[in-house]
């Protein structure tokens, strides 16, 4: 019996499952369990009864609407900008000129920079006596520093965050797009050239349509992470601009209420899933229109 079992487990039929087991167990304990607990924390009172109180408190917070607004605004501003920038970078590098590899690595550099560090980097530029004000002064544009980051200039503060996050996280879009470009078969490009497509025409009619899956992945991945923007905002603007992940952090860290913190986290998850569903549906239907 034991020998038979050992023989069974030893075959290639079972081996892959044994190899997956550690990962599956780990995901179970450190992903599914917290996921379940988060929902429990958000919907269940300390006495165990189902409640919507935490969500009501969350929605009733004076900052809630602002938080929602800025989280969405950040995502819808940053992500399209990043796609355009990364696409431009990727297409330039993809021409394969001398030194293109060098530039590719340079462009990918922010991949290693954390959101907190990126916030601090741009703080050195946007702060009251920072580099931007210093440059504007030395060029003679201003006499006194502009307060880029303050309650009086919410618009500028928002813009500073957009710039910092755009600077930091475009690299990941670039990497996805470059990987996508590398997969486009040379044959297609050569065929396009034989048929007379050059320059922009080749980009528009051949490369972009073939890059669509990569663009779609990048769009979804970046939107989900942009909705979670946190440390850039905190490092750069304190709590002038509230965001969902930041509120979850404050509720847990400052107010010691993991129920309401979980409610924010659950809301963030629902929005992420909703956006992904929206993109998949919207992009597919567009694709079918083009095909048909």
């Amino acid at each position: 019996m034991e020998a038979r079992l050992r023989r069974l487990l030893g075959t290639d039929t079972f081996l892959p499952y044994w190899l997956l087991l550690p990962t599956l167990v780990f995901i179970g304990v450190f992903f599914f369990m917290p996921l379940f607990n988060a929902i429990m924390l958000a919907f269940r009172a300390d006495n165990g009864a189902f409640t919507l109180d935490y969500f009501k408190k969350m929605v009733a917070d004076v900052r809630f609407i602002e938080t929602l607004k800025y989280t969405f605004l950040l995502a819808v501003t940053i992500v399209p900008l990043q796609l355009v920038t990364a696409l431009a970078m990727a297409l330039l590098v993809n021409t394969g000129f001398r030194g293109s590899r060098f530039f590719l690595y340079l462009f990918a550099l922010p991949l290693g920079i954390s959101d907190l560090a990126a916030g601090l980097i741009w703080l050195s530029i946007f702060t009251q006596h920072g580099f931007l004000n210093s440059i504007l002064y030395s060029l003679g544009f201003i006499q006194r520093p502009i307060y880029f980051i303050s309650y009086q200039n919410i618009g500028l503060t928002f813009l500073a965050i957009v710039i910092a996050e755009h600077w930091r996280a475009t690299a990941i879009v670039l990497v996805i797009l470059v990987a996508g470009l590398q997969m486009i078969s040379r044959d297609y490009l050569e065929a396009a050239e034989v048929l007379g497509a050059r320059g922009w025409k080749k980009v528009w009619y051949v490369i972009l349509p073939m890059l669509k899956p990569s663009l779609q992945s990048a769009l979804i991945i970046r939107t989900i992470f942009a909705l979670q923007t946190f440390a850039v905002v905190l490092a750069l603007a304190g709590n002038i601009i509230p965001v969902l992940a930041g509120e979850a952090y404050f509720w847990h860290f400052l107010y010691r209420n993991s129920h309401i913190a979980s409610a924010y986290a659950v809301l963030l998850m629902v929005i992420s899933i909703g956006m992904t569903w929206f993109y998949l549906r919207f992009l597919r239907s567009r694709m079918e229109v083009i095909r048909g």
């Binding site: 690595y105 905190l234 847990h252």
Partner: protein, 273 residues
């Protein structure tokens, strides 16, 4: 070279140079800030290049209360994370690369999807659980959640790495008398080693950079980013700049070392969508 071609070349190099400056200038600025005398950080008008460069600002940062301690914590957490991640994730990567089995595609997609969930959703309830388990405010606790965050990448990356090692070689070793494990350990592993090292460094950077979960799960045993984040409102600007610069140094170094692998890693992640 014909005139239009020359023009195109020039435009091309202008374009990539502009993007390169966009990436590099902010790093240059934070670098200068970290070696500017402390009083000049607040001066107005502030010269872009300081009157002189000094190590004093950086020394102030490193000697500030809690920094050295949290720095060591960060290194430990990152090392633990990369050990856990490779120990758990690499076998899965090997399985996906070598075998066709039921549920293979579901597994690959499922593991990617786990990374799409917000960090807050894992960190907040885990803080509650960790208090019960005695893991709250411990380095192992932080390393465990970092492992959960790095695991999807590790599986994808190691899958790519093992796919790059020809299966024939292992089969040849087995016909020559190696056991299944022997063939793996003596043939596949040595060939996969550079790639695995790159995956390890990538995992190190993920952990080194992570701030949200590290802050939520610790009180006294902060990692460096958690320490900087929780003291940010109370710390002077030169402390923050030096901290920012210090945090990016190892990350940039590792990214440079593994630059060749970066695109393979993500190529694998998005190719089979």
């Amino acid at each position: 070279m014909s005139y239009p071609r020359l023009l195109r070349r020039t435009l091309l190099y202008m374009g990539v140079t502009a993007f390169a400056l966009w990436v590099l200038v902010p790093i240059f600025f934070i670098g200068i800030s970290s070696f500017t005398p402390r009083n000049e950080i607040y001066a107005w008008p502030k010269p872009i290049i300081p009157s002189h460069f000094t190590l004093e600002t950086m020394r102030f940062f490193l000697n500030s209360y809690g920094v050295l301690n949290s720095l060591l914590n960060s290194v430990w957490v990152a090392l633990l994370t990369l050990s856990f991640t490779l120990a758990v994730g690499a076998p899965a990567g090997y399985a996906v690369a070598r075998f066709f089995f039921r549920g293979r595609e579901a597994f690959r997609l499922g593991i990617l999807v786990t990374r799409m969930f917000p960090t807050a959703l894992l960190a907040v309830p885990l803080a509650v659980t960790f208090i019960r388990w005695g893991l709250y405010d411990t380095l192992v606790g932080v390393a465990l959640i970092h492992t959960a965050m790095a695991l999807p990448f590790a599986v994808i990356i190691t899958t790519g790495i093992f796919m790059g090692v020809p299966k024939d070689l292992e089969e040849a070793a087995m016909t020559l008398g190696c056991s299944r494990f022997g063939a793996f350990a003596r043939v596949a592993l040595p060939l996969a080693l550079p790639g695995l090292a790159a995956a390890a460094m990538f995992t190190f950077v993920i952990s080194w950079n992570e701030v949200f979960a590290a802050t939520i799960l610790t009180v006294n045993n902060r990692t460096l980013p958690a320490h900087i984040l929780t003291t940010i409102q109370a710390s002077p600007l030169y402390f923050r700049f030096a901290g920012g610069f210090f945090m990016i140094l190892p990350a940039l170094f590792f990214m440079f070392l593994i630059r060749r692998y970066l695109f393979h890693m993500w190529g694998g992640a998005t190719a089979e969508r």
